[in-house]
Symmetry: C3
């Protein structure tokens, strides 16, 4: 079992730059731009192919796949099913981001179906993870009404069920593979005031898991990278508008050495 500590984050960052994974994103149309730019900033390659005519074919050749149900339709739901299946068959890591699951019947049923395909990583806020695990009724739109710490046991149980990793975003992020739990502190409240920062984190998680071949380490590294970059950006920004470009600059600038300064707490 691999170590997950600040020193291994350095290796993960270097692996990401060296391998430049191609991340196939089936994600919501609100956040496609910042997601693509965040992937480019850290040295990965984004591609957004979200039609059933192409999604399975592309997922089979990508380094990693992101499935985010934020603006799902019947058409893109089919594409997500095909991509998740193709990723599973190819042994390609894929991340499920259950945006607003719990509050809406269509996407809640879809997410329940997708989770049976055993995503390598589930990333969401506490309300979404609780709802996905059948233990809550969802938040308020895309906002969580639950606390990450309340979701820890449910997240660990969900991780054991999928055989993967579950990450719960919040002021302190919780990442668990069902046995080990790592908390990632730091970050900035401005992340919650920038549309797509959480969704981009899902894409960076996919990239890091592909680069490291280690779902727990890769997920923790993505969360640490996002949090540290947010701290740098918050110092330079005058508000939520100038924060976003600064955050992308900081995602780019942070190297392996910088990632060793992450606030990791291993339980």
């Amino acid at each position: 079992m691999s170590r997950v500590d600040v020193s291994s984050l350095r290796t993960a960052r270097e692996a990401l730059r060296d391998t430049a994974p191609l991340v196939h994103c089936l994600t919501n149309t609100v956040v496609q731009t910042i997601t693509a730019n965040a992937l480019l900033a850290v040295g990965a390659a984004p591609a957004m192919v979200d039609d059933p005519a192409e999604a399975g074919e592309f997922a089979a050749v990508a380094s990693a796949v992101l499935v985010n149900v934020g603006t799902v339709s019947s058409r893109t739901a089919d594409a997500m099913r095909l991509a998740a299946r193709a990723a599973g068959e190819a042994g390609t890591p894929w991340v499920l981001d259950p945006v607003a699951v719990g509050g809406l019947a269509f996407r809640t049923a879809l997410a329940a179906e997708l989770v049976e395909l055993r995503p390598t990583v589930v990333r969401g806020n506490a309300s979404e993870v609780l709802a996905l695990a059948g233990a809550g009724s969802g938040g308020r739109g895309v906002d969580s009404t639950a606390d990450p710490d309340d979701a820890v046991e449910v997240a660990a149980s969900l991780a054991r069920r999928t055989g993967g990793v579950v990450a719960v975003s919040g002021p302190v992020d919780v990442v668990t593979d069902g046995e080990r739990t790592v908390r990632v502190g730091g970050g900035s409240v401005l992340l919650t005031r920038t549309t797509g920062a959480g969704c981009a984190l899902g894409a960076l998680t996919a990239a890091y898991v592909a680069a490291t071949g280690d779902p727990l380490l890769g997920t923790v590294a993505a969360h640490a990278h996002v949090a540290l970059a947010a701290e740098v950006a918050a110092d330079l920004a005058d508000g939520p508008g100038t924060f976003a470009p600064q955050w992308l600059d900081a995602l780019d600038a942070l190297d392996g050495e910088a990632l060793t300064r992450a606030d990791l707490r291993t339980a």
Copy 2:
């Protein structure tokens, strides 16, 4: 009948921050990101759910709904019908933004149908409002070829027909409930050089109307907030690219006191 003056704008701004309304946006894919970021900047919560499978269900629980036909398709047209009906049945305020109506048959027919559902607010440029009211043939793409002042009588007549408010954007914005007319001056030409600034104004109008419970005051407050923030941003920006992040910062920073400096002209 409520007052609409600079002092009531202060109250409106405070109500917006205190209530953080959840605004359900069915809007065009070009402007979803800046619309979500503008809502977050002023303290509202955005959610973009635009498929018929979910739009009615979500509109019924949102604080306000925006229907913007900018990149409408047959699929999203159905979602818009469902959302507008659900908002009407729930007594939830909803805003119609008739982007490029008049110039294209499909959306012109759709907008005529939606206006019969009596939107709380219609917001568009002069060409769009004239076309929606059946008094003009539309502009050039998304640009107006008519003057807001030429549209005042038509706007007032349309407001009496819907029982709501009609806002005509231009160098000086005109807001009317069919009896009272308020003009909002100020702003910056850079708003017209930033894609989605007008569409985001529609979303902020929805947020303010939900927060105040007063369609005329809420609509005026949104227009004043956008104009004042544009003036701040124009001073700090070096061009249309750096204007957008500065505008979001200013939307965030402007408080109730700042809004009392709005250029309101009541007829």
Copy 3:
């Protein structure tokens, strides 16, 4: 036959500002925002109408049309066919951007069909142009794995087949009408780290070709304008995040005189 030299770029820039062409973009949802903002920055008017219900009607009245298959679906593929046909019938210039063609069967077949409609300009990276011409199997996602210089002969042959212009983007761009070849140097590697910069170049090409009435000159002018603005922005930016707004500012600021400093190499 028109001249294409730095002095004619000045005239092209002035024509673009004077005519403010309305560019109808059927493009991928990842890049719609930066594409619209880039068009607004240079003084053109963007409109994104991508449903079969409206695309043909709108293409018939636009100044130019862009067809970019980045996130194509069955629905938008139909809209692209209608728009390309309407543009052809109206004698309106249109640009085909064959994003990721070669690597995916659906879009490769669609692009092969569209190229038979004789686009005024084809703009892509070397892998895409080779694949479109039937001489390669595509790149890695949206990234080229081939060199523009290797694609020159194939591009010229494709230009003779369509009767139009073919542009191959790379560190040095190659633009050819099948007889004359112009290379455009300069630019910045940050363009490749900003999602949509290449796609926006396709839209600016459409705008310039409409403004000049000269496909070769217009295509070269768009590439020179983008490259020069990137150099200005790279000097001012701290990374890929702050580059994008600076690039839009520079697109706006560069006038005809500035364009005469372009790095053109005529063979």
